[in-house]
């Protein structure tokens, strides 16, 4: 049975741990709020971009000649972009992504895709993928909690290049979508080739777009569209990075919140054990005194 001092020492140690986890929880909450604001500030840009793209698609008429939309019948090679965090201590945040990535890989291999490479965004994902001996064609790291648009552009540049040069015929993105503070949903999206419906997206029936005459394009709509698509991908990746950042903070906040709670209940258990130990030793001492007194009579 541990002595009172041992238990006391453990209580102190757990208390210190709780201080740390509580601080991490607060930091994560603050950062989460900022990350959510950044998702919000992207929205007007993303909407305007979609609208512009739909308009260009409508006026260009044919989408067949665009390489980024090209469906390659026999997809032989694919890339999976796994967006994880640079750090751990966020519950199952990173593990979920990799698990979904592996599932996507298995499914694609079932469909006859022979060659699957990973593009790792985030240090944690890169570490695990390397450890498992999987092919990682490029690692992006250092911006998981605060991605900038320039970071997203770099990732897109890499993917678009790989796709147009034929290194892969399909690109999937796996990331944690930020649903709410309590929920992150692992999302698998096809990035390339770009799905046609996304480009032609007509569901936004705002009167401004519908009423007006054809716009003058400078240069013509086809060229315009071919330049706009990479920007659309930048925005898509940027959005995924932002969502993942917010989700990471949310996951860390929740993980640290339960860690703090657990430390609390551990402390009360240990306190109880310590009180018992103290009581036991007091009883023991009384018994000894009484026994000693008895012996004298």
């Amino acid at each position: 049975m541990p002595s009172q001092r041992d238990i006391k020492r453990r209580i102190d140690s757990v208390r210190n741990t709780r201080k740390i986890t509580r601080a991490m929880e607060l930091v994560a909450s603050a950062k989460l709020r900022r990350a959510q604001e950044r998702i919000e500030s992207l929205r007007p840009y993303a909407q305007a971009m979609r609208r512009l793209m739909a308009q260009a698609a409508r006026q260009s008429g044919s989408l067949t000649s665009l390489p980024l939309l090209e469906e390659r019948g026999e997809a032989a090679r694919a890339s999976i972009v796994a967006i994880t965090g640079d750090r751990g201590l966020a519950g199952a945040f990173n593990v979920n992504i990799l698990r979904a990535g592996f599932a996507a890989e298995a499914e694609m291999r079932g469909d006859g895709v022979g060659d699957v490479v990973y593009t790792a965004v985030g240090k944690k994902g890169a570490g695990t993928l390397n450890f498992r001996g999987l092919t990682v064609d490029r690692i992006f790291q250092g911006f998981s909690t605060e991605p900038t648009y320039a970071d997203a552009q770099q990732v897109t540049e890499h993917l678009v290049r790989g796709f147009t040069e034929g290194h892969f015929d399909r690109v999937l993105v796996v990331y944690n979508a930020f649903k709410s503070v309590l929920e992150q949903r692992v999302t698998v999206e096809r990035l390339l080739p770009i799905e046609r419906e996304l480009v032609e997206d007509e569901q936004e029936h705002d009167p401004l777009v519908e009423s007006r005459a054809l716009a003058l394009f400078e240069p013509d709509p086809d060229i315009f569209l071919s330049k706009l698509l990479p920007t659309f991908l930048d925005t898509t990746i940027y959005r995924a990075l932002l969502e993942s950042a917010a989700a990471e903070h949310a996951a860390r906040r929740n993980a640290m919140h339960s860690a703090t709670d657990n430390a609390g209940s551990l402390i009360s258990d240990l306190t109880l054990a310590m009180n018992r130990a103290r009581q036991a030793s007091i009883t023991q001492e009384i018994l000894e005194v009484v026994a000693g007194a008895d012996a004298l009579v």
Binding site: A48, A150, Q154, L208, L214
Partner: protein, 145 residues
Amino acid sequence: MSTSVPGTEKKRMGVRLLTPEGPAFDGFATMLVAPSVEGEVGILPRHTPLIAFLRTGDTRITTVDDEKVVFATTEGYLSVLEDQVLVLVAQAEPADNIDRARAQAALERAEAKLAEAEAAGDEVGRVAAESARRRAENRLRVADQ
């Protein structure tokens, strides 16, 4: 509005300058000049619908209060629709806010990165560094105007 004499009210148009990191300008203007790839374009109210590419340069807005606002902008898109002007760019920085020293440091950093990427034969890194350098140069140029 500046005047109430009929027929002389200023024509105005809504201008939104958007970046992925948030709107840089959202308000009414009487004129906008943006650097399209085919030369500078000036937009006045009642312009015909137009969609154009922008190159890295400066976008100048004259607001309804006759105030001139200049932004250093990167590559992007311009769309004019029924007196609604949309400028979509990756980055927009008000000229008054540009910190020369920081822009200079960014330029040097971009050049170092460029040299590094070239030495390593890293195509993706090179493209990124090149556009970073172009942005930094543009910021300095706009700040000097």
